[in-house]
């Protein structure tokens, strides 16, 4: 009991030490000096209550945890259901169902909702791409956003200087980022584990800094603006068409409605995501896909079996980069503007969080996680300045709640009868 009391006191004090100086005291600027003032007594009492609760919680830790165990727990998702949900065959059907829904609903949704959905699809694309590198091949890449940036700037620069259209630039952007992936991957892939992580992080930052500093080519911090939106076989979705072009609504003789543009972008994103999904699903059944996962599980065994780890890693890295390139050039088209500040490390972190939260390697998981990670901050707009605070806290809570990810990946397997 005394031990409990000691640790309870310690915990209560800890609450004060953590909360009081930052929340209870406030630095205020008075003229040219700063002063410290107490904040409202309300905050103090909240801290006091928290520390009291902590004290009780730690003091009666054992009793509470036994009570917790005995109390009827929340209806848990039965293991069977989770198992069923994560089976590859079910996932295929779910994805199919999702695709059908995704195709139909934008015609009923509002402009804002369709636009957010487009954003989510961009992140699904990025998540799926990074999933190959991190989830399947097991290479921790913290600089994935660098490839995204290369893709975005490839389209932006080509359209700015040569006036090339989105559809020409899209495969070019893919090729460009693949080249980048190959060039960067070649020297760094012999690094192991977290060294690889930091070097990729470094490369991501270097790419962003060069984009920012080479003002003559990339526009520096201004970035490149007025990037044209994609067209449908030469039909633009703008109110008035550029010279020698025709607009969609004129061609079909319907009234101009700006939502058409948003829906069209959404559909392109959906097609791109489906393409990416298709390619990954095919590759996963091919020797190269199997080799990725084998490499993640045991590199030494792979080498013993005569697989060339460098080639396998490079292929995963390059393919992941290519998809980031697609996502990037689409992002540039959707936004109409690219600036280096869109490609900071935080963006890499969000994409990585999507992959991890989804359950590494699981494609349906990545889709779900992308929806969660992008929708959460948007839904929390009502909380205004508390938005990012809640977002950070939720990221921690989700990791604690489901460390294996929302829908972890499952291989087809048989279980022995018990």
């Amino acid at each position: 009991m005394t031990r409990n009391l000691k640790s309870a006191l310690f915990s209560a004090l800890l609450v004060w030490a953590v909360a009081y100086p930052v929340l209870g005291l406030k630095l205020t600027i008075v003229g040219i000096n700063i002063e410290v003032h107490n904040t409202s007594p309300m905050i103090l009492s909240v801290i006091a209550i928290c520390s009291l609760l902590m004290f009780v919680r730690v003091l009666f830790n054992q009793q509470l945890s036994t009570a917790w165990k005995n109390s009827p727990s929340l209806p848990k998702v039965p293991a069977k259901a989770t198992n069923f949900l994560t089976l590859p065959s079910t996932q295929r059907w779910i994805i199919l169902g999702l695709v059908v829904v995704a195709l139909v609903w934008p015609f009923y949704g509002s402009r804002g909702a369709v636009d957010i959905a487009t954003l989510i699809l961009i992140y699904v694309m990025l998540g799926l791409g990074l999933n190959i590198v991190v989830g399947l091949a097991g290479l921790l890449d913290l600089g994935y956003v660098g490839f995204y940036a290369v893709g975005a700037y490839t389209y932006a620069l080509l359209s700015h200087y040569f006036g090339w259209s989105f559809w020409v630039c899209l495969p070019l952007a893919g090729m460009m980022t693949a080249t980048f992936g190959l060039l960067l991957g070649f020297p760094v892939l012999r690094l192991r584990g977290d060294y690889l992580a930091i070097v990729t992080l470094g490369f991501g930052e270097i790419i962003r800094l060069f984009l920012r500093n080479l003002t003559d080519i990339t526009g520096g911090p201004n970035g490149i603006s007025n990037i044209p939106k994609p067209t449908l076989f030469g039909l633009s979705f703008d109110r008035t068409a550029a010279e020698g072009m025709q607009t969609f609504h004129e061609y079909f003789g319907i009234a101009y409605n700006s939502i058409n543009k948003v829906i069209f972008l959404y559909l392109i994103a959906l097609v791109l995501v489906l393409l990416v999904l298709f390619v990954i699903n095919r590759l996963l059944r091919m020797p190269i896909g199997r080799a990725w996962e084998a490499l993640r599980e045991d590199e030494i065994a792979c080498r013993a079996l005569g697989l060339n780890p460098t080639v396998i890693k490079l292929s995963a890295f390059t393919l992941g980069a290519t998809f980031a390139g697609f996502a990037g050039s689409f992002f540039a088209a959707r936004q109409g503007l690219v600036t280096p500040e869109s490609f900071t490390f935080l963006e890499s972190a969000i994409i990585l969080a999507i992959v991890v939260l989804g359950g590494m390697g699981s494609q349906l998981g990545v889709i779900l996680a992308a929806v969660v990670m992008i929708l959460l901050p948007e839904m929390m707009r009502e909380f205004s300045e508390y938005r990012m605070l809640l977002f950070g806290a939720l990221m921690v809570l989700m990791m604690i709640w489901r460390p294996q990810g929302l829908l972890p990946m499952q291989r087809p397997h048989l279980e022995l009868r018990k």
Partner: protein
């Protein structure tokens, strides 16, 4: 195709229903969009403070045409991606008047949507010239352009300071680099060579390398394009490292915080500021109102944001309508009396004749005007 058309028609009707609903309400909603999270929050806070104060004071006087104004906040974190989402949300919410956005990079993609949807946007902070250079009708700004401020500073340096060795620094951001390039160009046109032209990393603390470089080049005049936190640090470190040079900056540095950060080193700093603002005796009451709310009125975007709301209110009054197209027309035609002066907009939506005056900063004392330009 036919069913699609019907559904779309239906959607449009619903939307129109929402829109007319918001027209029928007794308040006029004004969206304020800017960063409330992320590294640029402190500039966003200036904009929100200014715009909200204006809305409050207009409402205290009885509102616009008997209708109260209502502020609706949107956080874009100065991220272009989120700015697009915010703009779409503004469209969804049926708001017709927007004050914002703050950063040029988020203003630009958002303005595409506002123009497309017929929403009036007045930015009090985004200074990138290309924002108003695209022939848009609904986009305005109540702050001077980089391209106007740069030459004003450059001419003053060339005509009055006549330094021996000049350095031009900037913070590698849209605003800072834009102004710094304009200053450099003006100086070079006047035959003054710029010895050092370099970007520094915004958000860092240590600028000793760049100061050592300036010292090695025997620089006696430094123009800095950027905001006050970085210049404050540079001034402070320059003094410590014995760099004897005169410093000058744009309106982004010209607020009380620079004295707070640079302390004694802010003495003698030259700043180009739009004429009047917080020092104008006419604005005394307003400054006091900010002080009563414990807000700082000296930030570079507080008064332009205040003015933006006044322009919207004035536009609605002069157009005698809340139809954004008519209001936009009225704004293009009219003249508006605001704390930042009598604003008149040109065809692009920029303020006409935005005058900059050079002030000299004094530590612990009010700034003094050094050149009526």
């Amino acid at each position: 195709m036919a069913t699609k058309q019907i559904t779309k028609l239906f959607a449009a009707m619903v939307l129109a229903g929402f829109a007319s609903h918001s027209f029928a309400a007794d308040t006029i909603k004004i969206g304020i969009a800017g960063p409330k999270t992320g590294p640029l929050t402190q500039y966003g806070d200036m904009q929100f403070a200014g715009a909200k104060m204006a809305i409050e004071q207009i409402n205290a006087k009885g509102g616009v045409d008997g209708k109260k104004l209502e502020a609706v906040d949107y956080d874009d974190a100065c991220d272009p991606k989120q700015a697009v989402a915010v703009a779409n949300k503004v469209v969804n919410d049926g708001i017709k008047f927007v004050v914002g956005h703050l950063c040029s990079s988020s203003t630009q993609p958002a303005s595409d949507i506002y123009e497309d949807e017929g929403i009036i946007m007045i930015t009090p902070a985004a200074t990138g010239p290309e924002i108003t250079a695209r022939g848009y009708k609904m986009i305005f700004r109540t702050i001077g352009l980089d391209s106007a401020q740069g030459p004003a500073a450059g001419n003053y340096i060339a005509d009055h300071v006549k330094p021996k060795v000049v350095a031009v620094l900037h913070d590698k951001q849209q605003y800072g680099e834009g102004i710094a390039s304009a200053v450099k160009k003006t100086l070079e046109d006047k035959g003054i060579k710029v010895a050092v032209f370099e970007g520094v990393n915004a958000g860092e603390k240590d600028y000793s390398s760049v100061i050592a470089k300036l010292k090695q080049a025997n620089v006696d005049f430094v123009y800095y394009g950027g905001y006050h936190p970085e210049l404050g640090l540079i001034l402070r470190q320059a003094k410590e490292k014995g760099l004897n040079a005169k410093f000058m900056g744009p309106e982004g540095v010209g607020n009380e915080s620079i004295s707070q950060i640079a302390q004694g080193a802010s003495e003698g700093l030259l700043v180009t500021l739009p004429k009047a603002f917080d020092a104008d005796p006419e604005n005394k009451a307003l400054v006091d109102a900010f002080a009563a709310k414990k807000q700082d009125p000296t930030g570079p975007f507080v008064f332009p944001a205040y003015a933006a709301v006044e322009v919207i209110a004035g536009g609605i009054e002069q157009a005698k309508s809340e139809d954004p197209a008519k209001v936009a027309e009225a704004i293009h035609k009219g003249t508006f009396k605001t704390p930042t002066g009598n604003l008149k907009f040109d065809a692009k939506g920029d303020v006409e004749d935005f005058k900059f005056v050079v002030y000299e900063w004094h530590f612990g004392k009010p700034k003094t005007e050094v050149s009526p330009q």
